[in-house]
């Protein structure tokens, strides 16, 4: 095993050639509780997306090769997964672009090689246009019990602004097909703050989503990520960013509207029917462990974070475990910072007892404690019922607050 200090080179290409997850000091612990699988294929690249994905169609597609390679990776990772997995999340990209035959092999490999807990939450991200009964059947039989559908908006004009190519009517169809196949645990992803959107058109989108009776809703405000066409268009003046006041109003209206509709607001941008919070996402917010599979997938086990190489070519070439990059093991202060950053995103907040323990760790404890007090005094954090949590005003300024306590 290579000492971790030597592994944290910043050149991803160099790392990519030099190490895999088997070089990480991970043995001996309880191992990951979840699994994240990244499927990097898309029909078309949406203009706001900065995730690793490839537009590959036709007979020369590398999808079969990718599936073979992924199964090989699952086999190789299996010894690192000693305890039953509580959650699996297949994201992308567009996982539903994999043909049903490939899905069947992938799911079989997962069931064969990995230990799965009885109450496993198994989510697959779905594009409304590429969800067909045949595929759904394969997914359900393979153990998938949750679908996350990228609706984003029901307004064709706004979808066009995002360069999102699905037919909004297909969202309703996809939800219907999922139910028919036996998947009731459906999430819809929605985006607000799209150029050209006002409060009313947003609430219309939200109402339409609620009317589909999903058990979970993720409402994100549109992010202008660097190096995306959307950001370039905004900079060139081709599209205009929604005014911050309007965005704030949209967010607040979302909180109120979904509360009225019976959803619990459990994380900054996540709402669920009681008991239907996404267990996989909770792993992230509670700083727990999960194993990454597929190109560009990020993992976290035993306090070490890493990513698989992002490029499909590199991923396909080296195996059985893929080369990894961005390896990181934080010191005490860094770890506490992350736990606070992630934990405070949950609306229940962080329990006072846990908070005291956290603030006693590392050297920056007193500094953090005073930063927290300042935010409490500013009315952005509050202590209630033994928990430290965001106030409503604080939710709107979450990044500002988190940067202070990090």
């Amino acid at each position: 095993m290579i000492p971790l200090a030597q592994l944290t080179t910043s050149d991803p290409r160099l790392q990519a050639l030099s190490m895999t997850a088997s070089d990480l000091p991970l043995a001996g612990g309880p191992g990951p509780r979840g699994l994240y699988v990244h499927v990097p294929f898309c029909v078309h690249k949406c203009h706001y997306c900065d995730f690793y994905s490839l537009v590959e169609t036709g007979p020369d597609s590398r999808r079969p090769a990718f599936t073979d390679r992924l199964i090989e990776e699952i086999r190789a990772a299996a010894p690192r997964v000693p305890c039953p997995l509580q959650t699996i999340f297949v994201g992308g990209g567009t996982p539903t672009l994999l043909e049903p035959g490939l899905w069947a092999r992938l799911l079989a490999a997962i069931r064969t090689h990995l230990p799965l807990a009885p109450g496993l939450e198994f989510t697959v991200e779905a594009n409304p246009d590429s969800l067909e009964p045949e595929l759904l059947d394969v997914l359900v039989r393979g153990g998938v019990n949750r679908l996350s559908i990228g609706a984003q908006s029901f307004n064709p004009r706004l979808l066009a602004t995002l360069e999102r190519r699905h037919d909004p009517a297909n969202v309703r169809r996809a939800v219907g097909l999922a139910r028919a196949a036996g998947i009731t645990n459906v999430n819809l992803d929605l985006i607000f703050g799209i150029p050209g959107q006002d409060l009313d058109t947003w609430l219309a989108d939200l109402d339409e989503a609620v009317s589909l009776e999903p058990l979970h809703l993720s409402c994100y405000s549109l992010m202008y990520e660097p190096n995306t066409p959307l950001t370039a268009r905004m900079r060139s003046g081709a599209i205009r960013r929604v005014d911050e006041e309007v965005e704030a109003a949209m967010y607040e209206a979302t909180i109120d509207r979904l509360h009225e509709a019976g959803f619990e607001h459990y994380e900054i941008s996540s709402w669920a029917r009681p008991g239907r919070a996404c267990a996989h996402n909770l792993l992230y917010w509670r700083n727990e462990s999960w194993w990454p599979l597929g190109p560009g997938a990020a993992g976290h086990v035993e306090g070490i974070r890493w990513k698989n190489v992002p490029r499909l070519g590199d991923y396909l070439r080296v195996g059985p475990l893929p080369p990894i990059t961005d390896v990181e093991q934080l010191d005490e202060d860094g770890t506490v910072g992350e736990i606070l950053m992630l934990g405070l995103r949950l609306t229940e907040g962080i329990g006072e007892a846990q908070l005291r323990t956290l603030l006693a760790r590392g050297r920056r404890g007193p500094q953090r404690a005073s930063a927290i007090e300042q935010q409490v005094a500013a009315g952005l954090l509050a202590r209630r019922d033994g928990f430290l949590r965001f106030t409503r005003a604080g939710l709107l300024l979450a990044d500002t607050v988190l940067a202070e306590v990090l």
Binding site: D399, T400, A403
Partner: protein
């Protein structure tokens, strides 16, 4: 043997240094092979900028009508920031060569320097240089010289320092026309210090002209102004290489070494006499250098605190070293809320400031953040006393102030006739008083104004150049202090006064300047969780206001695929940005905001 002591005076770039080199070559003082361009300017910076910062003296020999002439050429700084040094150097001469570019004609500094020479009773030899250039118009330029300075056009010598044409005639003319040195006034030894420089091995090297008596190696000397005593260990002349001599006698020019440790122990304009047999009266004209323009220098680094301290020390060393070579700039350690530790420096003028800044960066290897220049103010207090300040923060309690005086300059501008209207407007907007206008040629005029130094130290020269498309030139001379309605403007951020941003300006300009500053600040300070009022106030009365709106929403949702590292790094970046900021009350102000305020256009 005959002696002639002379200077060359000219506007920048009119060919003074090239002509000097050519004179050395013609008299065989320098071989063709050794002739470097502009031999007399020893500093890189001088060579690059084409201006002479420090004077030196060179002795050459020329034969005229069969007789040997010792010609002592005293080089002078070319800019009126160094007017005092120029005037001391000119005092050491009996004549001066006035060089004017045959393509450019008479410029502002030509006039200023010529006046200085005339004030010192120097005989002038007008020379029209660069006649080899295709665009040269020597006759017209000669007419301009006659028009402006009253030197007959037919007496102008035409030459090209580049080709050597006319240089032999010039040497003859120096011998013929310049008066010989006046006979001694007293039998006591008196020598005028007109320059000095620092040498790492020998200490201070003093350049002097002997007016009465003689100096010999081993003599015990006394400086009449400072009262200090030294023993001469070396005397010599530059020919142009240093050549030791045993004595410097009446009318001669040379250098002196006497174990003088620091440049500040030697004052340009001071009189050297013999300690054993001192003169009663010093040579006239000595005064202390006076700093008129001030600014602050800070190390430019924005890295961590420890690195910053190192940068400060590098800057301090560089400043101290430079001070060894230039006693006319002064400095004091200072601390700015925003920029950390640095130095408040005083300069003779704008060019002087620019030169020091560049030399610090070049020779000291430090990158400098420079604040906008300010002037020195005289505060007349109600009890009748006068206090001099050059920092708005030092302004005493307003209730004790009778009046505030600021330096006034006489400004001469030479410009194309068609720009006169715009320049009048420019000067009018800068509280200028029009004093007169003189004809130079069909196409050019000279304008005279009086205006506050504070109005020209920032961007006036740039404005002049842009209005005249580069053809206008200016020169100024400080003529005194005058009282005006000057007020201190406080800048308040979220109700807290930020001392480092306060300024002194004219009451009438206060609103406009304040608004410009507040608008700059509004762009520089990031929005906070609360609304931030920005205000400008005179003695508690608000005269301008801007508001920075509160942040309404700053929350990112994505943590797709559990890429926690990326999320953390984004937040860390936000936080890191805040580290370089200065907290004023509950507001974080970036360093750049302080600088932006200090350089906001008037």
């Amino acid at each position: 043997m005959h002696v002639r002591n002379f200077s060359i005076i000219a506007h920048i770039d009119h060919g003074k240094s090239t002509l000097a080199d050519r004179l050395l070559q013609f008299t065989k003082a320098v071989s063709e092979r050794d002739a470097r361009d502009q031999l007399l300017d020893t500093m890189d910076l001088e060579r690059e900028r084409g201006i002479t910062i420090k004077a030196s003296a060179v002795t050459i020999h020329h034969t005229w009508q069969g007789e040997d002439y010792q010609l002592n050429f005293i080089d002078t700084p070319g800019h009126v920031d160094f007017a005092y040094e120029v005037s001391r150097a000119l005092t050491a001469c009996e004549g001066a060569i006035l060089v004017v570019d045959a393509t450019q004609g008479v410029e502002a500094q030509t006039v200023a320097n010529a006046y200085l020479a005339v004030e010192n009773d120097l005989e002038l030899i007008p020379v029209v240089n660069k006649i080899d250039l295709p665009t040269a118009r020597p006759q017209e330029v000669a007419m301009e010289i006659e028009q402006v300075l009253g030197l007959p056009a037919e007496e102008c010598l035409y030459c090209s320092a580049k080709t050597g044409e006319g240089v032999a005639e010039l040497l003859d003319r120096i011998c013929e026309r310049l008066p010989p040195p006046a006979p001694p006034e007293t039998d006591k030894t008196r020598a005028l210090i007109f320059d000095s420089r620092y040498d790492d091995y020998r200490g201070v090297i003093v350049y002097c002209r002997v007016f009465d008596g003689a100096l010999r190696v081993g003599d015990r000397i006394r400086m009449l102004g400072t009262g200090r005593h030294y023993t001469i260990t070396e005397l010599g002349r530059h020919t142009p290489t240093p050549t030791r001599v045993d004595e410097l006698v009446h009318a001669e020019v040379g250098y002196l070494v006497a174990s003088i440790r620091a440049l500040e122990d030697v004052r340009v304009g001071d009189t050297i006499t013999l300690d054993t047999d001192p003169a009663d009266k010093p040579l006239p004209g000595y005064r202390e250098p006076k700093q008129m323009v001030f600014c602050e220098f800070y190390p430019a680094t924005t890295t961590g605190d420890s690195g910053r301290k190192g940068e400060f020390e590098t800057l301090r060393d560089a400043i101290e070293k430079l001070r060894l070579n230039d006693a006319s700039f002064v400095f004091d350690a200072t601390h700015s809320e925003a920029l950390g530790f640095g130095f408040r420096c005083g300069f003779l003028g704008l060019l002087h400031m620019e030169i020091i800044q560049q030399r610090l960066e070049r020779e000291g290897g430090v990158e400098i953040v420079q604040t906008a220049p300010t002037v020195s103010y005289q505060i007349v207090l109600r009890d009748g006393s006068v206090k001099e300040i050059h920092n708005p923060a030092d302004l005493p309690d307003p209730s004790t102030i009778e009046s505030v005086r600021e330096p006034l300059v006489k400004l001469e501008i030479i410009c194309p006739t068609e720009n006169i209207g715009d320049l009048m407007k420019l000067c009018d907007g800068r509280r200028g008083t029009y004093k007169g206008q003189r004809f130079i040629s069909q196409t050019r005029q000279m304008l005279d104004f009086e205006l506050p130094l504070a109005e020209i130290i920032y961007d006036f020269h740039d404005k002049l150049k842009s209005i005249t498309r580069g053809y206008g030139t200016m020169d100024y001379e400080i003529i005194g202090y005058h009282a005006d309605k000057l007020v201190k403007v406080d800048i308040l951020v979220n109700e807290v006064a930020v001392e480092a941003m306060s300024l002194i300006c004219h009451r009438q300009a206060a609103e406009k300047r304040s608004r410009a500053i507040l608008q700059t600040l509004r762009k520089q300070i990031a929005r906070h969780q609360f609304e931030i009022p920005l205000q400008a106030a005179i003695g508690g009365k608000i005269i301008a206001r801007e508001t920075i709106k509160a942040v309404r929403k700053n929350v990112t949702a994505k943590c797709y695929g559990g890429d926690v590292t990326r999320k953390r790094k984004l937040l860390e970046k936000q936080k890191k940005g805040k580290k370089r900021m200065k907290m004023v009350g509950s507001v974080s102000i970036p360093q750049e905001a302080f600088l932006a305020v200090l350089t906001t256009e008037q």
